[in-house]
Structure formats: C-alpha cells, structure tokens
Amino acid sequence: MAEPFQITDEMRAQFGIDGDPWTYEVTTTSVRMYARGIGSEDPIHYDVDFAKSQGFRSIVAPLGYLGTPVYAPGSNDPTFGFPRRAGGPRLNIPFLGLLDGGTETEYFDVICAGDVLEETSHLADLKLKEGPRQMLFMTNESVYKNKATGKVVAKQRLTSIHM
C-alpha cells in the first residue's frame, strides 16, 4: 500500500445506513443442532415440554444463537451462510488480512424456537490502530426484531479486524 489508510468523513457518513432486512429463523431442529454444536446438554435447549414447564414458549436458543439466515443458492455466502443483501454501506478496504475481532450481544427478550426474526445491519464504528502494520477495526451492528411482535429482541455487534 503506497499511502497509509485513513478513515474519511465519507466513510463515517456510512455509519447507520441499514442494508435490506433479512429473515432469520429459529426452529426446534436448529436450536438443538446449535446446542449440540456447543456441547450443551441443558434440556432447556432440547425438550419442548420441559422448556414450557419453565415458562418459555418453546426450547430456548443457546446464548450467541440468533437464528439461521434464510438460505438460497446465490443469495447467501456458500461458506458462512450470511446473506448477500442489497443496500447498506459500501466501503473500499485496502487490507487483505481479516480476523474475527469480537462478538457482543445485547438481549431484550429470550429467543425461542418458532421465532422468526427480521435482521437489519449497519456499519456502527471504524477505528484505526496505528503500528508497524495498520489495523482497521470495523464494527457492524445487527438489530433483530421479532416479526410477530415487532419488538427488538437482540442487538449484536461484530468486530472484524482488517490488516
């Protein structure tokens, strides 16, 4: 890279611009599969009757699981499954290296099997760390709304590190 990278006002102007919404589904089989994937044996993630006896609508999504994006060939990334949606910020990042920097989830309600969530995502923050190698910390925020109630149930911030 000839010139050092700089965060411009043009980039900052992209903060908060939502991409097209995408549907995320939480089903009994997807909750159980996630719970198996993390090695949890808590019946709250597996047994519908038990979860109901504890006052939940159905089995409870393990922490960190906010549903599975609706998938179709060509519409989603074939490796990660995330949606290739229209709209939202467009940034030219001159870095090739990419690391997962962090995950933060804020909950406003419990997520259970049967929930259908509408997710919108926007660029929330850019931070540059100078050093022998510049590192750009890019944070995207997704807001998950329960489609049936219209209520925001979770916000998740994902930070990627570009270097």
Partner: protein, 168 residues
Amino acid sequence: MTQAPDSVITDEMRAAIGVEGPPAVMEVEKTNCRMYARSVGHTDPIFYDEAAAKARGYRGIVAPPGFLGTPIFRPGGSGAVPGELGGRTFSVPYKRILNGGTDYEYFPDPPDGDAICAGDTITARSKISGFEEATGSLGPMLITTRETTYTNQHGKVVAKMYGTLIQY
C-alpha cells in the same frame, strides 16, 4: 437357506421379523430442508423458498428427495436415524457392518398420501422385513432388510424407506 445347520439366524431373530420398533418423531422444518438441499447442491427454489413452493402447489418448502425430517435429538440418545443403521440389532458372529443400500418410496398423491413439506411432523416406524444369508467376496454375510414407514401429522403415509444392512 434359513434352515442350514450353520445359519446365524436364530429363532429370536425370526420372531423379530415384522415387529415394529418404537416410533421416532421426525421434524421437517424450513431450516433443515434448506440445509439438506444446500448440502446436496439442489438448485430448485421449492427447496428454499416458501413462495416458490406454494406457487407450484405445495403447502410449504418441500423436503428434498431422501430427506424425511430430523429425528428429535436428545442428549445421551443415539441420535441414529431409524431404519438406516439404527434399530434393533442382534448378536451375530460377524464383526463388520456395512450399509448395503437405501431405497425411498414416496406416496405424494392425495387423498391417501401427500408431499413432505416444512412444518410436517413425521412419525417413523421401523421393522425388520427379513434376514438373508449369502456368501460373497467378503465371505459369509448376514443381510438384514428393514422397512420404515413415515406417517405425517394427518395420518397419511408419505414415504417408506427400505434399508439393507450387511454384517460379515
């Protein structure tokens, strides 16, 4: 054949032929239909998109060929799919086991049958339909055939699976 003096088929095994095992509940949901279709490489939108499936006359996203739902997983359970390698096994003097093959039969026609779609809850009932002994390139072997019947939430038989298990 079964009367041969060195047969590994016991009276207990013969008595088990046709006896149904406990039912297993299989869930067909949008997420697992799509995952299955994606993992095979299907491109037909009826396996992914509810509107496309409905436009073609289905109740919802269609279960791709060979997908009969996901058994309800319970920690500590076997998680085996009934009729495949799961189900009752018997003690025979063979150490190795092979899945010999699987055939799926569909009954998509109303009023007796129906297509399998997301939202369905399928009850699978499996039984041994026969034992056969043979000698092949692997040596003497026992071939167990199993038949599993899949009934949807409306009591309609939607599919049958015929599985072959080879022990040698």
